[in-house]
Structure formats: C-alpha cells, structure tokens
Amino acid sequence: MVLIDYVKKFPQAIYPYYMTRSVLQGMRAMAVLRYYAWKRGEKPFDPDMIKPRERDLLRLWSEGRPPDYQVAIGEALGLTVDYYVDIFCRMARDPDKLIWYEDVIPPEIIQAMGLIPLMVEGIPGMAPMVAPEAAHRFIDVAENAGYPADLCSMPKVTLGMVLEGLLPPPRAILCSNSPCDGGMSSYLPIEQAVGVPVHRVDFPWNVYEPRAAEYCLKEVERMIRFLEEIAGHPLDMDRLRDICEMRNRMQEATMELWELMKARPCPMGGMLHPLSYTAYQVCPGTPMGIRIAESILQVARDNHKEGRGLVPDEKHRAIMWGAFPVTTPDLYEWLENEYGMVTVMVMLSYDHYPLIDTSSEASMMRDLVEIMAKPPMARHTRGPVENFLGDLFHLYEEYQADLVIMAAHQSCKNMRAALGILRDACRRRDIPLLIIDHDVFDARVVSPEGIKSQVRDFMDTVMRDD
C-alpha cells in the first residue's frame, strides 16, 4: 500500500520499479525451478520447461552449466534485484531520505546516515540487458536534447532517464570527478533538471600520491557534513561500524574467490565478475551483499575441492580490461562455450582493498576513504598510465593468463587514449592483445554479433584457434 501511495505521488517511479521487478521475476523463477528440478534428481534439467523471456539473462548466462552454478548465478541476480526492490519500498515509506549517488561513490556512509542510497546509473545500467530498445530510447532523448553523440552512453542513458523524469526524485545528489569527464560533467544538467543540492567529491588526479589520502579524507568529511545537514543528525558511527564489518565479510569472501580463480582449471566462470562488481556498487555492507559474495564463493570452493573447472576443457585464460560490453550480456558464456576461454579477472571487479579496520573511528574512516578513492576503473583512468597498466600486468602473471581482451568502449576517451601505449606494452611482453571496439550500452554502434565477430577474427588469426 505504501508503494502504491508513493507511485501515485511520484508516477515516474513506476518505470524503474517495473524494470527491477521484471528482472527479478525473470531470473528468480527460472533459478528456483531449476534448483528444485536438480534436487529431485531430474537430470538433465530441460530449460524449455519454462518458456524463457526473450532476453532471459539467466538463460544467457548459465545455460548448459552445472545446476549449482545456475542456482548461484540466479541467486546473485535475484538478490541484486531484491535489493533494488527493497530500496523502492523504503523510499516509498521515506521519500525525503532518498539520495542519488554516482557509481563510484560507495553507499556505506549514506546507509549509516539512515538515508536511502540509489545509484543513479544502476537502473539505466540494467536497461540494455532487460530491454536494449529502452537504452536506445534514452540515448536518443539525451542526444535530441543537445548532448553530444560522442558522450559515453552510460551518462547518456542516465541523462535520458532523468530528462524524461523517470527516476524517483531525490533529496540530494552525491557525485565526484571519477572516473571520467563525461560522467562528472553530466551532473550539471542532472542538477538543473532535478533541482536539489549536489555535493561533489574532489579526488586528486593521482590517488596513489602519499598526500592524497589526507586530501581525500577531508573531502569525505565534507561529504559527511553535507549529508548530516540533509539528514538533520550526525553520522551514526556504531551503525557505520556494523556496515563496515558486513562489508569486510563480503570482502573476505571475494578475496578468497579471487585466490581460487588463480587455480587451473578455473573453478568459476566469467559471469561472476559483473555480479560481484554490481554487488559492490549497489549493496556493499548489507546482508544481501554478503549472500551474493558467499553464494558465488561456495560454488567455486566446491569445484576447486573436486579439481573441477567450470569450463570442462579449459583452453584459454583471459584478463578483460576496459568496460564490459553490456550490449552483449552473454559474452563471457560465449567465450567459454565457443573457445574454452575463461575470463579469470576483469578490471571492474578487481577489488584488492585491505579489510576495513573497525577498531577506531579514525581507522575506519581512513580505510573507507581508501575504498572510495581507489575503486576499480577510477584508479585505472586517473593518474599516470602506469595505474592503468600496473594492475593488468600484475593480474596477467598472477592468474596465468594467455591473452588480454581490451573492451574498448568507443566514447571512453580516457581508456581509448591509452590503447597505443597498451599495444606497445603488450608487444614488449609478447602478450596477445585483442582490442574489441564497442559501445558499452548502444548495440546500434556495434551489435553483439559484431563484437563476437571481432573475437572470431582474433582467435582465427592470432591465437590460431579453429
């Protein structure tokens, strides 16, 4: 009832709510049915028992895989969407507590403040997977409103939704100068369209500089003061400690998973990466975040214990750098099925932070600030190019990879400008490098088939893989 009243008051909220619900139902129903079919010993499970949705992500991501993998992926997806639905229910009760945050601002502090965090790019980020035509529509809205066609399609989809008034109205907005100029600048028209206070966090260009930590800490303290004014009360440090401890549990599971991924054969598939990344962006420090991390870990543990790889005949191990093409959500699966290629690590999910030291307020803030200042992608696109390359070559060695896939999103000016340096660096190290041209959210620029065709050419000519 609360939700119905809320939607009556803010009719635009129905769109993102519907979108999250549709993903939830599409995913969960199949995962649960498969789970029970497996439990009853009905093998092999026939996915055609249920008529799949046209672009059923679970089918794309786990078809033909062991049932426990299907369940883990289904559960992770379902929990992520559950979290969104929960956010919508909470904002229905307390619409004045809704805070929009940009994708690189972690929501822990917003949560600890008793406010409701909604990652602005989160719902638009789902659009291309649930309904590609929706992403196209919002891109067109932004371009028709005069914003550049060469702007990254992520802020374009977001801007399109905001300009159409499709996101529930916030009380305030948090954003930053990371990871790129396009995302950062898009908050000016967002600010004008929404008309609420915006707080921008200034992270230094090179966050690895020794004095950057103190500067970032002061910036985050300013952000907290801003939120305290919005909330009307101070930050509850005990609550923040609880959240940080839950985040630590999630992080411990993730770190163990990253260790297991080094094994040959690799015990998990590439799909865990977007799920892990999304969980850290959307619901870190929550019971749901822990369950997502632990359910994926459990599958990896079981496989590793049995010496079993997710791909039966593992032939290649890839590191994927750059922005994953959301337009082609089955890319990891396809690489695994077509070439026996496991994507052992990707830029976006490579978290390697120390656990948050919750023994004092100072240590907790220090570690949280480090997480805010150095998230994946942001730490790679800022600072000298060594920041972009360092993690990549470290991972290449650590995970015994045999090729690098650079997903070169066309309008990511920052990463595209590093491709020449990346190419030279890979040649020096004799590392096979596949650069995939694509647009992260706009399949009209490069279609999923166009992306796969680039892979085929590379595998045929460079890797000589027939």
């Binding site: 914003y147 702007l151 100068n177 950062m184 260009w205 030279d424």
Partner: protein
C-alpha cells in the same frame, strides 16, 4: 593596422631575443599552468599550439579518434617537430584528453623535462595548499633540471611582467566596448596568442605600442552584429576571421586562450608562490572546475551586457565532454535569458569554412541583423 604582420614581426623578434639571451622555451597546455613560474630569468613560457598541423596520422596511432583534435594535433606537432623543439613541457591534469596526452608524450618522445600538475577541482583552503605544493615541486624540478635559482625575487619579477601583460591585454580588450571598436576579434586573438607564446619583455613593449596606435586611429568598420565568442580552447585567429568575414564582429570572448587567460592579476603582497596558487585556482574557472557554473554563467551574461553583445556563439571542440555538456547547458540558459545563441562544433584545425559561414549568416539573419 595589419595585426597579422605585427604578429609575424613580433614572433621573429621574440624568437631572436630568446636565442640571443639563451632562454629555454617551456611549452604548456592549459590556462591553469602558471606561466609566471615558467617566465623567470632563463626561461620563457609558450602556450602550445600547432597551427600548421592539419593531419594527425602519427598521433592517431596513439591517441584515439575519439580524443579531441587539439591533443592529437599537439602530439603530432611534437613528434614531427613542426613547432620547433621545446625545452620542456608542463601539463595539468585538466581533462581526460590532456592527461593521456601527457602519458603518450612521455611514451613516444620521452622529453627530458615533462611535468604534470595535479589540479584540484575545488578552490577551498585544502585545494590551495595542494596546488601550492604542486607548484613547489614544479619550481624545484625546474631549478634542478635547468640549473636555475627560482627564489622569491625571480618569481616577483615574473609576476610583475605577467601582470603587466594582463593589464595591457585588458586595456586592449576594453577598446572593444566602443560603438565602433578599433580592433577586430581576430586582431585581439593575435595579440593574445603573441602574449602567451613569446617572452614577456618583447610582447609587453609591442602591446603598449599597439594600444597607442589603435587608440588614436580612426575606424569605420562595417558589421552586422556584435557577438561574444565562447567555448573550448581556441588559439586560431583565422577561426575568428571566418566569423567576422560572415558579417559579425567578435567584441568579447569567453574561452581559455582569450580573456579567461588574462583576467585576474596575481597578488603582490604575499608569498609569491602562494599568491600564484591562489590566482590560478580563483581565476574565472574552466568547466572542469566544481560548483562554478553559476559564476561562469553570470560572468558571460555580464560581459555580454557590458560589451553590448547582440548574439552569442558557443564553439565546442568535438569530443570535449566538459564543453560538450556545458555548451548545451549554456545554450539553454542563455536563450532563456533572451540571448540569441549559435552553437558550432569544430575541430582544432580550421575546416568546413563555407558551411560555417552559411550558419553564421543564417544566425545573423535570424537575429534580424
């Protein structure tokens, strides 16, 4: 007067003087690089341009086609030595393109002196402290690399010369307020380019002469409308000439190789390096700076009114995200304010002149001029 030949003579004189005096030329790429520190005895600051670069084949193999053509032209010019070899390069981490231009320059040419300043996005006390420290490191690196001593005295001398240059440019700019301005936008652009490319000792004397000459001359120039030109980095007087050939007179500007570079003097009554840090963070900001749009917008509106502007042209370099977005916001807000606005997208090298003229003529007609 013919400012083209004035600028040519001045360039030759400036380069002769630099050679004779053994001055090292330090190229910089952003209006947030303090030219004072690069204008101490033994050095002179030169804002990097590549006016003769029309194609960028070599640079394109490093910087992507979605990077702005300014950065691609700069890399091409340096790799081809088109603009003559510089003795050093100083960047700011101003935008994604500049940051990666720095990386690619180091990777491809590895110049012996190449620095990048971590420029904050805010202007509060901590940001000033941060930027001050960046400037201390730049000064120390220059001293060490070029075997110089850059103390307060040297910095004060450079501040004085740069402030004088700003004062002269502001005086010249002031003349554009008149009903029949004695200089065109193209002339003004030449004076600005010369000012930020040559040793101040040469350019300041020449600017003083230029002002004296134009102040006393009689002018009767025909034009259809007075316009303000704003937007991305623009260093090419020929671009302004195209606008003026189409019938507009550019009487005011709002871009970083124009008035934004010479507004605001550096304070002279405190520690010189601190005063420099304050001036550069508090000058009229670039769109990459946080929370400054309202001030930037009000400045443009005030300048437009002060200079009797009838229409505003916003030019944005293709692939520049900050100006690409803000240009649109500016356009919407200025139209709401009642200003006719024309938005032009462009590349660094001048091109598409015929189309551009047609659009400007149509704009002037739509304004009823």
């Amino acid at each position: 007067m013919n400012t083209a030949s004035w600028a040519d003579r001045l360039t030759a004189e400036g380069e002769d003087r630099a050679r004779t005096e053994g001055l090292r030329r330090i190229a910089y790429f952003c209006s947030y690089v303090p030219e004072e520190i690069l204008s101490v005895p033994g050095l002179y600051a030169c804002r990097m341009r590549a006016s003769n670069t029309t194609t960028t084949e070599t640079a394109d193999s490093y910087l992507g086609l979605f990077n702005c053509s300014y950065t691609r032209a700069m890399l091409e010019a340096i790799l081809e030595h088109e603009s003559g070899w510089m003795d050093g390069f100083v960047f700011t981490a101003g935008c994604d393109h500049l940051r990666r231009l720095y990386d690619n320059l180091v990777h491809t040419a590895n110049p012996p002196f190449c620095r990048i300043l971590g420029l904050p996005y805010k202007t509060h006390e901590d940001a000033r402290e941060w930027y001050f420290e960046e400037l201390v490191q730049l000064r120390n690196a220059l001293e060490e690399h070029f075997d110089l001593s850059i103390g307060d005295e040297e910095l004060r001398g450079a501040i004085e010369a740069c402030n004088e240059n700003r004062r002269l440019l502001a005086s010249l700019n002031e003349l554009r307020k008149g009903e029949n301005p004695p200089i065109t936008g193209e002339d003004m652009q030449r004076a600005v380019v010369a000012s930020f490319s040559l040793p101040k000792s040469v350019v300041n004397a020449a600017l003083a002469d230029l002002i004296e000459e134009v102040e006393t001359a009689a002018w009767d120039r025909k034009f259809r409308a007075r316009v303000l030109l704003m937007g991305s980095q623009l260093d090419d007087p020929a671009y302004v000439r195209v606008i003026e050939d189409a019938g507009a007179l550019v009487v005011a500007d709002g871009y970083c190789f124009g008035s934004l570079q010479y507004e605001h003097a550096v304070g002279t009554d405190s520690d010189p390096l601190k005063a420099i840090a304050v001036r550069y963070l508090e000058k009229t900001p670039c769109p990459r700076m946080f929370d400054a749009y309202p001030d930037r917008y009000m400045r443009i509106v005030e300048v437009a009114r002060e200079f009797g502007v009838q229409g505003i042209i916003i030019q944005t370099m293709k692939f520049c995200d900050t100006w690409g977005i803000e240009g649109n916001v500016f356009q919407n807000n200025l139209r709401e304010e009642g200003f006719p606005v024309l938005r032009l997208e462009r590349e660094y090298a001048l091109g598409g002149v015929g189309q551009m003229k047609t659009r400007i003529q149509a704009f002037l007609e739509a304004m009823g001029c």
